[in-house]
């Protein structure tokens, strides 16, 4: 008797999991959709927020819920499980997912320049070439994107691990403040302005080492959806993309700046206004680096290079032909 | 050396009724005395007032000439980390080594000395506990049901043995066994309902000693007196 009860409970447990997951999939079919961001609400997601707040999704008949991301969130997993219809993921995430058979599709590339760069004090260091890092203490987040990028840069410049001292980076900047580390990885449009201000208050000036300037284009955040959405609800995908990109275009318009900052403050209450303004300016330069850049455009060459880098560093076992899952937004 | 309680009034903390109301008695001669009465009348409370465990009472307790008053009860345990023999050895003053052996023999406990306390039967546990109290320096020992779970014959042997070994010491034996207290005790303090006055009545027992015989009639007479008193 007891055995039967146990068997039935195991079955019911599995059934309830499957039911709850498939239940979410059903909601995907309606025109309500969850859009899972990669990170918390801040200036780097302003276009996503702006599109929502200014009703661009609604205007196209979509009921989109924009949800914050975070370190434990993975938009691609959520797409597959049906918890979200759209999401933001970094290129390496997309390529890793493809390598494991995930049916993910890229529908827009938000960052044209990767915001992940290295900050350093400019008075005693000038990194104009990768070789300038020789003998320096370089901060790297083991397992993070910056490790992949730095290893690629070093390989290109013919440097090995013996040429630099690697410092394992954590969430707090104390080692950089204490000058124990020479170059420290930061997100240009979120952490960098804060660091810059703090060091500026101490009379120190900083500069940035941008991997793209040294030939390493590693694609950052992009907008993704599932293959199933592409096939079954192409209109929803199209409308979503155009609403989102319109949001980004408007959010980065110079004349909208005050309104944009006002909108942003509703979501990001912790960042001081002067820092937030700087973050917005930098975000603009990374997403729309040139006047004629169309927001969302896919830099196919950068995607292919990203895949190549990952392949070279054994992060994926074989090529995934990333270009096949990229749908150009226009 | 005598024990006297005068006008003891006592109630439990948060209790609504007096346990004792003007309770008085005297015990002027050493020997084996008893506190007798049904459960809940306050025998243990009186014992603890006498030894000074409870202070929240009014009235006078005088234990003239008695320095060491001990209270022992039947639920006490010895730690189980060594054998009861070792425990007894540790708590016996060197001058009382012979007495220890004597007690062990007279309590029929020689076989159990290598065992741990938890390995003993309930009756054996109570006996070994009593032995360790008897090996202390005391003038009054209160034995609260200290021979519970011990068979009648052994109990008799033990009580007679104690009386023989400690003729000049006060014992207060708390028991529910009317025959036993009538037979062995000198004075029996019979507890009555707290609403009755006086609350205790002293009945003289047969005070049976080693080598004596007890008259059946006298014993029955004592038992009747106890019944009437309560």
């Amino acid at each position: 008797m007891n055995r039967h009860i146990k068997k039935i409970s195991v079955f019911l447990f599995l059934f309830s999991i499957c039911f709850s997951l498939s239940g979410i999939r059903v909601s995907e079919a309606s025109e309500t959709a969850v859009y899972r961001l990669k990170w918390l609400f801040n200036a780097s997601v302003i276009g996503d927020i702006y599109a929502d707040v200014h009703g661009h999704f609604k205007a196209r008949g979509l009921d989109v819920t924009v949800k914050e991301g975070g370190p434990e969130r993975d938009a691609i997993r959520e797409l597959e499980l049906g918890y979200a219809a759209f999401g933001v993921a970094s290129a390496d995430q997309v390529i890793r997912a493809l390598a494991k058979g995930s049916p993910v599709v890229v529908i827009a590339q938000l960052f044209q320049i990767n915001p992940l760069q290295w900050i350093y004090r400019s008075e005693n260091l000038d990194v104009t070439r990768v070789e300038d890092l020789k003998g320096k203490v370089v901060g790297i987040t083991f397992g993070g994107n910056d490790e992949t990028i730095m290893r690629t840069l070093m390989a290109k410049a013919g440097l090995t691990e013996k040429d630099i001292s690697v410092f394992s980076v954590r969430y707090d900047y104390t080692p950089f403040y204490q000058k124990r580390v020479d170059v420290w990885p930061v997100y240009r449009n979120s952490q960098a302005p804060i660091l810059e201000k703090k060091l500026g208050d101490l009379g120190e000036s900083v500069a940035y080492f941008n991997p793209a300037a040294h030939g390493v284009k590693f694609v950052a955040n992009s907008v993704v959806t599932s293959k199933r959405m592409m096939e079954e609800q192409a209109d929803v995908v199209k409308n979503f993309t155009s609403a989102l990109l319109q949001g980004w275009e408007e959010a980065l318009e110079l004349e909208n700046e005050e309104d944009v900052l006002k909108t942003l403050r509703q979501f990001d209450k912790d960042t001081p206004p002067d820092i937030m303004r700087k973050q917005l300016v930098i975000t603009r330069s990374l997403i729309k680096p040139f006047k004629d850049t169309r927001i969302g455009m896919i830099d196919l060459e950068a995607w292919q290079q990203t895949e190549k880098i990952m392949l070279e560093q054994n992060q994926i076992p074989s090529p995934v032909a990333v270009e096949k899952v990229i749908r150009k937004p226009f | 050396m005598f024990l006297e309680c005068q006008n003891i009034n006592f109630r439990y903390p948060n209790g609504s009724m007096d346990v004792f109301h003007d309770l008085s008695f005297q015990m002027k001669t050493p020997g084996f005395h008893a506190l007798f009465g049904p459960s809940g009348v306050g025998k243990t409370s009186l014992a603890r007032i006498i030894v000074g465990d409870f202070n929240d009472y009014s009235g006078v307790v005088r234990s003239e000439g008695m320095q060491n008053l001990l209270y022992s009860y039947n639920l006490e345990r010895l730690p189980d980390w060594s054998s009861v023999g070792k425990h007894l050895e540790k708590i016996t003053p060197p001058s009382l080594r012979d007495r220890k052996n004597e007690l062990i023999a007279s309590f029929d406990m020689a076989e159990t000395m290598r065992l741990r306390f938890s390995q003993l039967s309930l009756g054996q546990q109570n006996r070994v506990n009593l032995i360790r109290y008897l090996l202390q320096d005391f003038h009054l020992l209160i034995m609260d049901e200290s021979l519970a779970n011990v068979d009648e014959r052994t109990r008799e042997k033990i009580i007679l043995g104690i009386k023989d070994m400690f003729p000049d010491t006060y014992f207060l034996y708390i028991s529910h066994n009317v025959i036993e207290v009538s037979k062995f005790c000198r004075e029996i303090l019979v507890f009555r309902n707290s609403l009755k006055a006086p609350q205790v009545i002293t009945v003289n027992g047969q005070d049976h000693k080693l080598g004596q015989t007890v008259s059946k009639d006298k014993l029955e007479q004592t038992m009747l007196e106890i019944m009437h008193a309560s």
Partner: protein, 249 residues
Amino acid sequence: MLHRRIYQFFIIYLLGLLVLFSVKYLLDLSDYVIPGLEDLAQTFRTVFLRYVSDVVDTISVAVIGQVISVFMAIVVGVLGRQTTWFGSFIKVAAYNVQAYPIVAIAPIIFILFGDGFLSRLLIAAMICYFPILLSVISIMSEPVHDIEHFYRVTGRMRWQLEVKIRAFENLNKLTTVISGSATLAMAGTIVAEFIAANAGIGYSIRIALYQSDLAKILTALFLIGITLSVYQGLLEIAGYLVKKGWASH
């Protein structure tokens, strides 16, 4: 005792995998969401040795942290057993500090002690110290009247004897708390490594999470589980031996 813990862990782990695989195959999820059996086996083979050494590193820190905690908890618990101001102060402090989430305290520890061994040790010790302390205090402040009475009325009671009686009478409770706190020490060390350290299995899990590699995480969980089961089993055996040894004096 030991083998029971190990096979119980195997059952739990296999049941967990079974649920995951059922969901994977029923919903046709890719290896990215839930790794396939082959993927898991491959990852297991690749990272096994490295992860074993990471887990050994972590458990070493956890064990040292736990030993320190047990020692300190006994000292403070014995001091704080009386119903004095100091005793109640220790209890209040222990309850309060226990309520703080370690992820909030960890950054302060890392700033003060860096991201090496000491920080991991401190966090592991902190996480398992307070539950042990509270148990020790509760055990030590509860008189065992039926045993203590004799020693008290005959003037033989010393603090050492009081502690000995209470510890002996509650040996089962103490060994359960100590063996249970092994899990806390391990969890504490892993959290510390996850947040900031440069070594240990927590650090490897963090890297695996960066790479969205669930297969690596499942491997790590397996090794953590099995190590913890062995450790707890050994603690139980040690507790049993202590009791047996103490009882055979």
